[in-house]
């Protein structure tokens, strides 16, 4: 008998009384979504910059990227000198990128998490390997909590997706917070109205 058969046989023999999966209710959220999102991001050590319209977002991206010389964006940005993630074939090529720019699909007000499926990165490693990260997010995409978030995610349609809620961090040395563990040392979110 294979291990699979043995495991399934033992489970079958236990023959537990069947319990139905509970129905998950809609939880009300009493805060303003944008305010709550900004508050959560502050706690997560990420910076939120608000813009109105695509033009202002592009202008803001140019300002924010002025200090960096090796930029990789997952989408074309007008008049900005950068590598497009779509043109990168080996993920290791991204190792020296000091600013990455991607779009988030939607954000979660309760905790600041932003959904980034691989289609938004072209290279899965992009939002992790870059030294600093900017995520452009539409303000009207915000949902209240993770229960709502998973209603908006179609996991089967993607190969990889991640909720990102801040710059990488660790507390493994005496619980002392250090920003910039293995991933980005900073996260800026451009919240576009």
């Amino acid at each position: 008998m294979s291990s699979k058969e043995k495991m399934l046989k033992t489970i079958e023999e236990v023959d537990l009384k069947k319990v139905d999966s509970p129905i998950i209710p809609e939880f009300e959220f009493e805060h303003n979504l944008v305010d709550a999102f900004k508050k959560a991001m502050k706690i997560n050590h990420a910076e939120v910059i608000e813009t109105v319209g695509e033009e202002e977002t592009v202008a803001q991206l140019k300002v924010l990227s002025a200090d960096y010389n090796r930029i990789c964006s997952a989408f074309p940005i007008k008049d900005l000198d950068c590598t497009y993630a779509r043109e990168v074939s080996d993920p290791r090529e991204l190792k020296d990128i000091n600013l990455g720019v991607i779009r988030g699909m939607f954000g979660v007000a309760e905790n600041g998490a932003i959904w980034v499926p691989e289609e938004n990165c072209h290279q899965r490693v992009l939002p992790f390997i870059v030294e600093h990260l900017i995520i452009v997010l539409k303000a009207d995409s915000l949902v209240s909590n993770m229960n709502q978030a998973y209603q908006s995610v179609e996991l089967v349609k993607t190969g990889f997706g991640v909720f990102i809620s801040g710059p990488s961090k660790t507390g493994d040395i005496e619980q002392t917070l250090v920003i910039g563990a293995h991933g980005p040392r900073s996260l800026k979110v451009i919240l576009e109205k």
């Binding site: 998490a113 660790t170 991933g183």
Partner: protein
Amino acid sequence: MTHSVEATKFLRNEERVDWHDENLWQARQKRDVASKEVPEWEELRQLASDIKDNVLSHLGEYLLEFEKNAANNGINVHWAIDGKEHNEIVHSIIKRSGYKNIVKSKSILTEECGLNGFLKHKGYEVVDTDLGERIIQLDNQPPSHIVMPAIHLRKKEIGDIFHKHLGTEKGIEDAQFLTEVARQHLREKFLQVEVAITGVNFGVADTGGFVVVTNEGNADMGCHLSKIHIACMGIEKLIPKAEHLGVFTRLLARSAIGQLISIYTSHYIKPRPGQEMHIVLVDNGRTEQLKRDKFRNSLKCIRCGACMNTCPIYRRSGGYSYNATVPGPIGSILSPGLDLKKYSSLPFASTLCGSCSDVCPVKINIHEQLYEWRQEIIKSQTGFNMKNLQMSIAGSILKRPRLYRLAGGFARFVMASMPRFITYNGFNKWGKHRELPEAPNESFNQWYRNRKK
């Protein structure tokens, strides 16, 4: 070694005990703040517990559904009855590939199976990439906590470990600097990676995908640069649907360290083009635990560590005193199921105060199960037992009033007039760390009679 013997060693350094105690209590306090911000917190705990009840009662069906969907997504699914088979499966995948550069993100399951040691024996070096795990790996120690593996170490000690193994200057105690050194050191490893091994926080039956959470981004750095990704998952980590992640992701990080959500909640569904992805479904005693009515609930655990942070015994005895992969209250109800004899002292390493059950995000009745294990352990023990002897002597005295009065008078005489070692000796386990109150001159009965005169 029993827990109390190991704890005694830890307790020798009082200053360190206080520091450890306060450090972990901080995590508990942060958990309290974060949990109170969610109005439906208690409802979420109940939902999480109910979802897990559903999982445990349909485990076989969900495992098959998961396997089918994962295979459709291009993931190779393996089944391992125990730790040995798990290690052999992982080894065979690596061996066949011919690759040598292996990184691993935090996985309590691979600790449980002893994977690193097994692969080392076969000639492979596995680099742990979670900062805490890397620190203790360099120092050749196991984790002392499931979420904060190096929480027992002081900055100075970590500075010494880095000095010895990574060539930093002696005497560095700055966490920022030490983390930066580890970042550079591990980045080299990431850029060379061929095989990435991860644990699994949640396996999702209806998508065939799985979720791995980290704050550091180390799991993702390894996986997305690797040629082969091997994910190792205990079969109880399964949940039926992706929508259930909405419940668990709201509970996990808030319970663990009072964070709103982990920085990275990564959903692996299909391998990258050109990448090979494997998942190993591990039993290793889990189906046995499923059979046990009283202890089945322990399989609901999502490994947040909240029960450790709140436990007055864990905080004051340290993770190593448990001598088990998972220490603390939850470990003390999981471990006896694996080896009743080896872990027989763990269910007694508790005050039964119930704080662990109060903070558990999936509502495991941990303290009640600790009590139940005590019954099982005492029943299973044969031969001489000092406590049984003491209890039966006490019982025979207590049911005979005249004898009781005589013994009381004798005890008052001994305590007041005889040398200390008559009362405090090897037979009196209770008196090892405690002082009896001073004996009164007369019994209550004597006092009552005299009072009426």
